[in-house]
């Protein structure tokens, strides 16, 4: 580890850990904490990346990361099942409540026109993994049990699972038009089959159906929580349009975008079900923090997989993000070691050969490792938070899920 420090150009006056924000700040204070950390780092004349490195290295029981791109589950899942109940697959556990999820979503899309209905139902075909609804219902049960040992899921909580999936899908439909994507989940995108005009309308329609379902729950707090998600999704896309010059700003910008585009939905859906299930604001915050940290980790691993998922799947890595001009975690970390990447980042990899060169730099650097470290940090934080709830199979499933987020390989 120590040898890595030599490579930092700006890390020479690194102050000891006492001056830097504590370990919990990454999760607890969230993004404002990260920005404060960046500001603190700047004041301490320490690069943002060395701050992250110092945080990750300050914990001796940190899972040791080998040079492999995939991380084995046994190392990372530090969960203790105090409940003593049998360890089931979280997806199976969650699906018990989600039977009929897609049929119910389709019922919300009460559209008379055949083609429009077909377009809106296109992604609700039951083939998705329904990752978000699973988290939502597991969180609902975990909160209900914590509150009063209730083993029921309220109808309104289940509705949140539907709404979360609908909002997510609506944003995917629009994102595919924006990115001019041709395939998703193994089939053609809505915009490629029916054209861009109708695809945009389909996205709007799914969003309006989700809003109607949300209003019908009849809880104004929950409405406020989930409309925040809609705003965050749009702001996240806007963040992606712009780019930052300063390297420190870039990373904070990347994490903010990641929060808004991915983590906000999960965090706020978890918070919404906890509000419906339990009056204690401490529980709401736990749910939110779990969702946020798992969401951030999920996206970071997604960004890693864009570089590493390869031979056995597609024959070559996809580099979809690079092709869209996006500089994600691995790239930003790699840029620390290879400053020549700066120019490529600024021009969004638009020159011929940029995408391949950038990929090479990333694979030569420890960018993937660093991003994975960070994802692990978030997962640990998620586990720490959710462990504060009363033991239950669902709580343990959520703990297990955070590990699965790290180890999936698409």
């Amino acid at each position: 580890m120590a040898s890595c420090w030599c490579r930092w150009r700006r890390g020479c006056s690194w102050r000891p850990a006492a001056r830097s924000p504590g370990p919990g700040s990454l999760g607890r204070a969230g993004l404002s904490g990260l920005r404060a950390a960046a500001a603190a780092a700047a004041r301490a004349q320490m690069s943002y990346f060395s701050l992250v490195k110092s945080l990750t290295s300050a914990f001796p029981n940190m899972c040791s990361i080998s040079r492999f791109h995939h991380v084995t589950p046994a190392v990372c899942c530090c969960s203790k099942t105090r409940s003593g109940e049998k360890y089931t697959d979280p997806f199976n556990l969650g699906w018990r409540d989600l039977k009929g999820l897609y049929e119910d979503i389709r019922k919300e899309l009460f559209i008379s026109t055949t083609e429009l209905k077909e377009m809106c139902e296109y992604y609700f075909d039951g083939k998705g993994k329904a990752f978000r609804p699973i988290i939502v219902v597991l969180m609902a049960r975990a909160c209900n049990i914590h509150h009063n040992n209730s083993r029921n899921v309220q109808a309104s909580q289940r509705a949140i699972a539907l709404i979360a999936e609908m909002i997510h899908t609506a944003s995917l439909v629009h994102d595919d038009v924006i990115d001019d994507a041709s395939s998703r989940r193994g089939k053609h995108t809505v915009n490629k089959i029916w054209g861009e005009k109708k695809a945009v309308l389909a996205g709007d329609l799914i969003l309006s159906a989700a809003s109607i379902a949300l209003a019908r729950i009849g809880n104004t707090t929950v409405v406020s929580i989930l409309t925040q998600v809609i705003e965050d999704l749009v702001r996240g896309e806007f963040l992606q349009l712009g780019s930052k010059e300063n390297e420190n700003e870039r990373f904070a910008h990347y994490l903010e975008k990641t929060f808004k585009k991915t983590a906000s939905l999960i965090a706020n859906s978890c918070k919404a079900v906890s509000v419906l299930g339990c009056p204690d604001p401490v529980v709401h915050e736990i749910a939110y923090q779990y969702g946020k940290n798992v969401g951030l980790a999920f996206q970071l691993i997604d960004d890693v997989l864009d570089f590493t998922s390869c031979s056995d799947r597609m024959g070559k890595p996809t580099s979809a993000d690079l092709k869209l001009g996006l500089a994600t975690g691995p790239v930003l970390f790699a840029c620390q070691q290879f400053p020549e990447m700066n120019a490529m980042i600024m021009r969004r990899f638009s020159s011929p050969g940029d995408v391949d060169r950038a990929r090479q730099y990333v694979l030569q650097s420890d960018g993937v490792q660093q991003t994975t470290y960070l994802a692990q940090r978030y997962c640990r934080e998620a586990v720490r938070e959710i462990s504060k709830l009363r033991p239950s199979p669902e709580r343990d499933a959520l703990i297990q899920l955070s590990g699965i987020v790290l180890t999936r390989d698409k």
């Binding site: 005009k197 809003s211 999704l233």
Partner: protein, 395 residues
């Protein structure tokens, strides 16, 4: 540069030259208001500006929070990049900027007027603590803005272009892709602001009403796209009943449900809410029919003026004639694959389509006035009546 200044300068950036003759502008040129013959925009504008005085201040284009956002200046900068391209977003943006300068946000204005006309609920006193300016609760003002946001968002989303239908005259693919991207993001941004505004109203019935209005509007826009004329200028065979249903979705639903929501915010009972709904619906329908009639009523029409083959007079004309004869007339008006609109217009004007469209417009106008009768007499109610008179008079 402040955001306000940026917005005011937008027309120059967008290459706009002079006021755009949009559908709302052209109404005024033929409307005769209260017996005065008019060929100028003055009377429609007069109706509107008097109405604005009644509601306290001109309806703003977007809430202040929205205006101060980074995203809006980002959008403005991106739209500037589209100058010189053929993307429809540019036209939409120009129109919006002009409309905001003329303060012609009709939906918002109507919502404010009907809020004032209804006044506070005589039955339910729970709104007594809300603050009220010029007889309108601040939540109702907020609702008016939200209505305009939703309308504008879909206006922007209507301008998306199908990439595989592009022709060389449309310019580079890259420009269209970029235009689409900005259009989607801008529309989504407006919708997100609308959703936030709705959440702040803390009333889930109102959220449900406006969300369902959005759903209706999207379906209405979808129908507009689907039934528009194909290559051979022949539209789908829709009768007047289907036309009414589709026009309700694309034009009536938002205003109707918004008016109803305004009543709900003031805790009026179901009857009052229904009357407001009916006013909104019928007023919007007559407004649309009036707009459809413009190409057939203007005294001096340029030969190149095209019209929508799915507009009310044309649909009615086809209804009278029967499908086959109508198709024959279209073919006769075609020369080398291009449609001679002037000739087709003559053919239609010679039939019963135009007069029955005028009748339909007046029918809806009367229904709107009927709905108003249940509101107590007031300045606001008179202004709403004047709006109906303005859209239903044809000299």
């Amino acid at each position: 540069m402040s955001l306000r200044q940026l917005l005011l300068r937008l027309p120059c950036y967008l290459g706009a030259s002079g006021p755009r003759r949009g559908p709302l502008d052209t109404i005024s040129s033929v409307v005769s208001w209260r017996g005065q013959s008019s060929r100028s925009p003055a009377h429609w504008n007069q109706v509107v500006s008097e109405a604005e005085k009644i509601v306290g201040y001109p309806t703003s284009f977007m809430s202040l929070r929205c205006l101060l956002s980074d995203e809006l200046s980002n959008i403005a900068m991106q739209v500037r990049k589209l100058v010189g391209t053929q993307h429809p977003l540019l036209t939409t943006a120009r129109g919006l900027v002009h409309d905001s300068q003329n303060n012609l946000q009709l939906r918002g204005l109507v919502v404010l007027l009907i809020s004032k006309a209804a006044g506070p609920s005589s039955v339910n006193a729970s709104c007594q603590s809300y603050d009220m300016v010029s007889g309108i609760y601040s939540c109702q003002r907020s609702l008016a803005e939200i209505t305009e946001l939703i309308h504008t968002a879909l206006l922007v989303h209507r301008g998306i272009v199908n990439l595989d239908e592009l022709q060389s005259s449309d310019g580079p693919l890259k420009d269209m892709q970029f235009g689409n991207k900005i259009a989607i993001l801008s529309g989504d941004f407006l919708l997100a602001n609308a959703c936030n505004g709705l959440a702040l109203l803390q009333n889930t019935k109102v959220v449900e009403l406006l969300a369902s209005a959005l759903m209706d509007l999207v379906q209405g826009v979808y129908h507009e796209n689907s039934t528009s004329a194909k290559e051979n200028h022949i539209t789908d065979d829709i009768g007047i009943l289907t036309w009414k249903k589709q026009t309700f979705l694309s034009h009536g639903a938002l205003l109707a449900k918004s008016c109803q929501a305004a009543m709900e915010l003031a805790k009026h009972d179901a009857e009052v809410q229904d009357m407001a709904f009916q006013y909104g619906k019928h007023m919007a329908m007559s407004h649309k029919i009036n707009s459809d009639l413009q190409p057939f009523i203007k005294e001096k029409t340029s030969d190149s003026l095209t019209f929508n083959l799915n507009s009310a007079p044309v649909v009615l004309h086809q209804e009278f004639l029967g499908r086959d004869l109508w198709i024959k007339q279209i073919r006769e008006a075609q020369r080398k694959g291009r449609l001679d609109y002037a000739k087709l217009r003559e053919t239609i004007s010679a039939g019963k389509g135009v007069t029955s469209a005028i009748d339909l417009c007046r029918y809806h106008g009367n229904k709107a006035l009927e709905a108003l009768e249940s509101f107590p007499p007031s300045e606001a109610r008179t202004a709403l009546e004047n709006i109906v008179f303005a859209v239903t008079r044809f000299s």
